[in-house]
Symmetry: C2
Subunit: 199 residues, 2 copies
Amino acid sequence: MQYPEPIAKLIDSYMKLPGIGSKTATRLAFYTIDMNQDDVAAFAKSLTAAKNDLHYCTICGNITDTEPCEICRDQSRDQTTILVVEQPKDVMSIDRTNEYHGLYHVLHGVLSPIEGRGPEDLNIESLIKRLQANPSVKELIVATNATPEGEATAQYLARLIKPARIKVTRLAHGLAVGSDIEYADEMTLLKAVEGRTEL
Amino acid sequence: MQYPEPIAKLIDSYMKLPGIGSKTATRLAFYTIDMNQDDVAAFAKSLTAAKNDLHYCTICGNITDTEPCEICRDQSRDQTTILVVEQPKDVMSIDRTNEYHGLYHVLHGVLSPIEGRGPEDLNIESLIKRLQANPSVKELIVATNATPEGEATAQYLARLIKPARIKVTRLAHGLAVGSDIEYADEMTLLKAVEGRTEL
């Protein structure tokens, strides 16, 4: 005996999502069948809408339903600073801190020789053009992740952009707030000591 | 700054699923945006189809896209035995073993005084009517889960149905195949000793 086709298809769809195996997909499918009709209709609509109505901003590469995106259009933001992140979701993470009020640029990845991803596979060319077209930009904050690939990408951008007399900075590394020294890894401790500040 | 509306809505939809919090929902939403257009369309369609095309079989309560369900229509199955489970997905779990070839009945839950669920909230009335209408049924196998509620429900059904001279049985309890005695809980060990078989 097989599952009725509508369930089998829904299980297959759920299994295409990352981190969802056949057991979880089955559980989600049966849960969906018991969901409120309106919620399921809204879910189906939001899937299609997210796929159809969103695109990457041609200026910064962030995900948006307008062109250019909300941030690029916002003239009240500091136009002299661009913060570079790996992924669209990083923009939201940084912006939520309410500490940074400049512009963003999304690379859509990091350099990775192992995965065969070079500069031409990232959103770097548009960053260069953007800097050339906007001489008002004074600082580029590279906020790629604190991974070997993120570091290498930051170094690459620094070498590429510094000659244009734009300040290139990197987010501080150190202990996470609220964390124990006992559980911090060696590299983090090393960076925390290097970057120590005076009290 | 907020997420563009299409993403925010999709995150909300994912968060309605069980076990998915805001971080996972966000990750899934961004993943969806990068998915193949056809896969997203198929996903949306399968959600609507699962909700619209499926219903519970009026005979056994299993989920189906036909009426009656595939199993209830199948005259080659043993019509003298009905196996009672809590949920539609349990039907598939049992049927996959290829050991049982009779009919099924889905209760859609278990008795639970704590959650205020009594016999009238379960698919029990239709079971009684089914037994009255089909005097050929000789045995009822109660395969509710090995939880206190599952046990109580099994006891309730046994008391209710035994007077009709139908044999009421329960799935065997014991050690899971491949499991270590060291890690088995006391109740399972007790049931395993009680139900020991001769070699």
